[in-house]
Amino acid sequence: MNPYDYFTHQLNSPSWHWEIIWYFFVAGIAAGSYITASIAQLTGSKAETGGSVRGYLLGLPLVMIGGFLLIIDLDRPERFLHMLWYFPQNIPMFKASTPMSLGGWALGVFGMFAAFSFLYALVRMEKVTTPVLVKFANALHEGPFAKVNLILGMLAAFYLATYTGVLANTSHLPGWAASPLIPVLFLVSGMSAGMAVMVLMTPKKNELEEYMHKLERADTYMILFELVVLVTFVASLGRWWYTVGSGLYGTLLWVVVVGLGLLVPLAMKWKPNLLGQRTAVVSSILVIIGGYFLRYVVILGPQSGYNGF
């Protein structure tokens, strides 16, 4: 017998730890909240948009935090600009064959749209009153460019939420490479967590009741969809299911992500008075915690056991 299982152990782990988990988490919430707020902006009534516009407050700060996390995760953080500029030839660094390169650009592009919408939210909340800025923000969200701006912003957000999964798929670690559902899982989880944060941000006002009801309904749809995608994902891992589904990571997946992060919030959506007025708050917090631990399990589980982890 060969004393070493050379085939599996010869692969190295990239040693991606907390910075990447938190980056994937905040990027998911940034994208999810932006998409939800944009859909609400495009389809909603004026009164309801007063609530959904708060979702725009999340994108920009979270993208900035995400960018910072990405930089400090590098072993040579002072060289982060090499992601965007190829200094040996003084040309932009853009490489379609690697999701990491596209992701770096997507973060910047989404950051721009998130900044526009952040400004718009401040304008709507009367925190910014400079006429030029008001005119600019309104033109991009209520004027003739609203649709183009929001649809392009949503596309950038969708890419930001999914490329992290494509990044994991484009690798040789079996637990990451075995199932193409990781991007879908991260997207749906980002949407549900983003909506949960928006629920927490919405003040209790009569005119926002209908908006809250619909936001919670959207969150319920996402939680249900996430449950389906998650179970399919684990099944689609085949013989590598144990990398996320057993041991410590399995316990976190089944108890924290599925149990506390999806099933309990679903029960609370079904029985909205379970904890009185706090039901929506508790349910949203659980969804957010579940979203974090989903990434914890999917990022760390498949790396564990490999050289360098």
Partner: protein, 270 residues
């Protein structure tokens, strides 16, 4: 462009002396592994265990025994970067820090590398690791500095049995095919060349193996990591459509309220 150079590793003549590993360490001034990464490997004479940032060459010891240990077979494989024609590390590197040299070898530009560690996951052979000391990705350069002055790599020069043959890849392949025939005629039925064009477009550092690749811990059919990428993007698009539709469905009656708003505004205007 200079000729395409590489190495033939003939495992039938390797004696596991590890002179190649020592020469590699010396020439490239590779430090010993940090204390926390040194481990005793009581099951094997293999005291390195793995290619790493400090071990660019590793002699694998495949020690096979039957149940009562009355019969045994030792196989050795002097392992390193294969300098693949389709190099996964190079494809995924987001900064173009991994480049192909004029000798057709794969080289890491340490002034450009940012230490993102994505190349680590792109290599199907577990060759690359990022150095804790330098903060950049590390692997065999095929002694690029020696090639530039017309010398052969240090490992090839140090090998006492010529198990590591350095030279032009096409000539080495002919040599390997000749040895394969010879070994087959001597009864080594499982002998084979690993690294022809069917493996990642061809490996510049390729192997004459005495048994199947998985016995040596080599993947039977390694692929570029990009083989998953398009499927992954396709599923992403499906996911985008599904979540977009679900969100729209949840907010669907808002369009009605929006219309009501518009009607109300119109009424007021009238």
């Amino acid at each position: 462009m200079a000729e395409r150079v590489g190495m033939l590793i003939d495992t039938s003549t390797c004696i596991g002396c590890k002179a190649c590993g020592v020469a590699c360490k010396e020439w490239n001034e590779l430090p010993m592994a940090p204390e926390d990464k040194v481990e005793f490997k009581g099951l094997s004479y293999d005291n390195q265990g793995h290619l790493s940032d400090t071990n660019w060459r590793h002699v694998k010891f495949i020690e096979q025994f039957n149940e009562d240990r009355s019969d045994s077979r030792w196989l050795f494989l002097s392992d390193s970067c294969k300098h693949c024609q389709q190099a996964g590390c190079m494809e995924v590197c987001p900064t173009n820090a991994i480049i192909r040299t004029e000798f057709d070898t794969v080289f890491i530009d340490h002034d450009t590398c940012i230490g993102c560690r994505y190349c680590v996951t792109g290599c199907p052979f577990g060759v690359i690791q990022v150095s804790d000391i330098k903060g950049t990705a590390q692997k065999c350069t095929l002694c690029y500095d020696r090639l530039q002055v017309g010398e052969q790599p240090a490992c090839a020069q140090a090998c006492p049995t010529d198990c590591i043959e350095f030279g032009e890849v096409d000539s080495l392949m002919k040599l390997a095919e000749g040895r394969e025939k010879l070994l087959k005629s001597q009864g080594y039925d499982n002998v084979r060349i690993y690294g022809k064009s069917d493996i990642l477009g061809g490996l510049n550092v390729f192997y004459l193996l005495l048994d199947k690749p998985d016995v040596y811990g080599l993947p039977e059919n390694p692929q570029l990591p990009q083989k998953n990428m398009m499927k992954s993007y396709t599923f992403s698009i499906a996911g985008m459509v599904a979540t977009g539709v679900l969100a729209l469905l949840a907010f669907r009656s808002r369009r009605m309220s929006h219309k009501a708003d518009a009607d109300q505004d119109q009424d007021k205007a009238v």
